[in-house]
Symmetry: C2
Subunit: 298 residues, 2 copies
């Protein structure tokens, strides 16, 4: 599972900082999180295949998270896409997509909409399992947790003891029943998988803390670097870097990437320092930053 | 009058080549020609003030010329714009703007639409005089000529002979009547002004040749570098670099910038060479290229 930050800016795209967006690639499939103006260009810049994008998860419908979608669709069409594209987002999705489609359509591939009531929902995409949860912004907004589950360890002793033929082993190992045998006969308890959480734009909130619990990576709104901007953060429904660090610590995540910086944040250093006071492993997100996550060693 | 190419690419925005767009600044005002995804970022990159943009002239409504407009509007709003913004384009403009406004609005500044019937129209913007003319593309499309007229030379002898008071001289010199005196009493015949022509996407065509007549600068569709791509150029309503050179030569322009390259054109060299066989002063447009045009010396 490879996570790449395509952009880390809020509100306006800048020459050296694209609008906040990330993508996660698992095997041959990629999920895109938010799509502001310039996201498709950032994907090219950082070597992320647009063709492999099978799902776009939108946090909300402010322009800086949305206006790149019609261009992305047309590029997908130009690249010959015919496979369905999942598009998920909070309530209002079908209306927003209708307007975008009026600009960009017709398209040679179908859109499969996942409109999330109250910002909640759970669905599968080629990359893994998506859990949406409500964020606290000025408008309906939701965050996303992508999890890659991991089956329990296969126990050949139990397989032999149950007289399960060798031809069935790999199927059972992958978690599927076969020829009357069940995975539970040969697998240990499920092992820790991988979980990546994307949460912007938002104030810190309980739903985010809960969704981020034990995540391998949390990418979180850190619009303001300076603690003195906390009133603005409250007013506009964003978080400070320090707040992101505090939430990461309380949620017990393994890694935190700060993102969605205000255009006024030209140096992420002071914000990072504030976040690290609460959560030492915090990192300042930067465009093109990438990380490959692997299952824990057994 | 300063002309800047904000981008030179067709169809898809690339990390090192923004979508075709140009702007022209005269005094404190700028006119933007086309606005694909990423145009506002390119403006920042090349030091062009978004705040000074008083008019956006759209050639047509393909996404690569249009999808940057809602984001540009929102950035203008964030910068505190309240002054009206002229938006011009061929037939269908009001419908297109309605869809874009549904995405980006409400805005704190009014839009003044100039919908051009049959791609033709003449109107004034703060930068100068705009003349729209029909191009030959797959959809309704128009080019634009921006002219900055220049009054005749002021003749103080004639002013004295007509007993015109000194206080009236500068008003008459600027071409306006005052206190019963007429500019024609003191000005010689109008002198050559400045004319810049923007024409993409298009096949070479008589309306363009006519509009480009004697222009100081023509920026023209040169999608294909290789003469062998002429059938594609005909099919998709574009021009080859050689055709752009030929048209420039026939129109008697002073300068030609090739633009709107296909993504397949990674080296503009061969296309430029072909254009120069017909028109020696041709230049390969590149992102950020800029030129300040001045009136001819008297």
């Amino acid at each position: 599972m490879t996570v790449t930050l395509l952009g880390t800016g809020g509100t306006q795209p800048l020459p050296d900082r694209a609008l906040a967006s990330a993508c996660i690639t698992v095997g041959g499939s990629t999920v895109l999180l938010d799509c502001g103006e310039g996201t498709q260009t950032a994907a090219r810049r950082w070597g992320v295949s647009i063709f492999k994008m099978d799902a776009v998860l939108l946090t909300h419908y402010h322009g800086d998270h949305l206006f790149g979608l019609p261009g992305l669709w047309q590029t997908m069409a130009a690249l010959g896409r015919t496979a369905p594209l999942v598009v998920a987002g909070p309530e209002g999705l079908s209306q927003v997509v209708r307007v975008l489609y009026a600009l960009a359509g017709p398209l040679p591939f179908p859109l499969r909409l996942q409109e999330l009531t109250d910002g909640r929902g759970s669905f599968e995409i080629p990359c893994g399992q998506v859990e949406a949860f409500p964020l606290r912004h000025r408008v309906d907004c939701c965050g996303y947790a992508l999890t890659l589950p991991r089956a329990g360890r296969f126990d050949p002793e139990r397989a032999r003891a149950a007289h399960i033929p060798l031809r069935c082993w790999s199927v059972l190992q992958s978690g599927r029943p076969t020829e009357g045998f069940l995975p539970s006969q040969v697998l240990g308890p499920p092992r820790r998988g991988l979980k990546v959480v994307y949460a912007t734009d938002t104030r810190p909130c309980p739903a985010l803390r809960k969704a981020a619990r034990d995540a391998d990576l949390l990418m979180m709104d850190a619009t303001y670097a300076d603690d003195a901007d906390l009133p603005k953060a409250r007013l506009y429904g964003h978080a400070t870097c320090r707040e992101a660090g505090e939430l990461a610590a309380r949620a017990g995540v393994r890694r935190l990437w700060l993102t969605h910086y205000s255009a006024a944040v030209t140096d992420p250093g002071p914000g990072l320092a504030a976040a690290r006071q609460a959560f030492a492993p915090a990192e300042a997100g930067r465009d093109g930053m990438s990380l490959t996550l692997k299952f824990d060693p057994d």
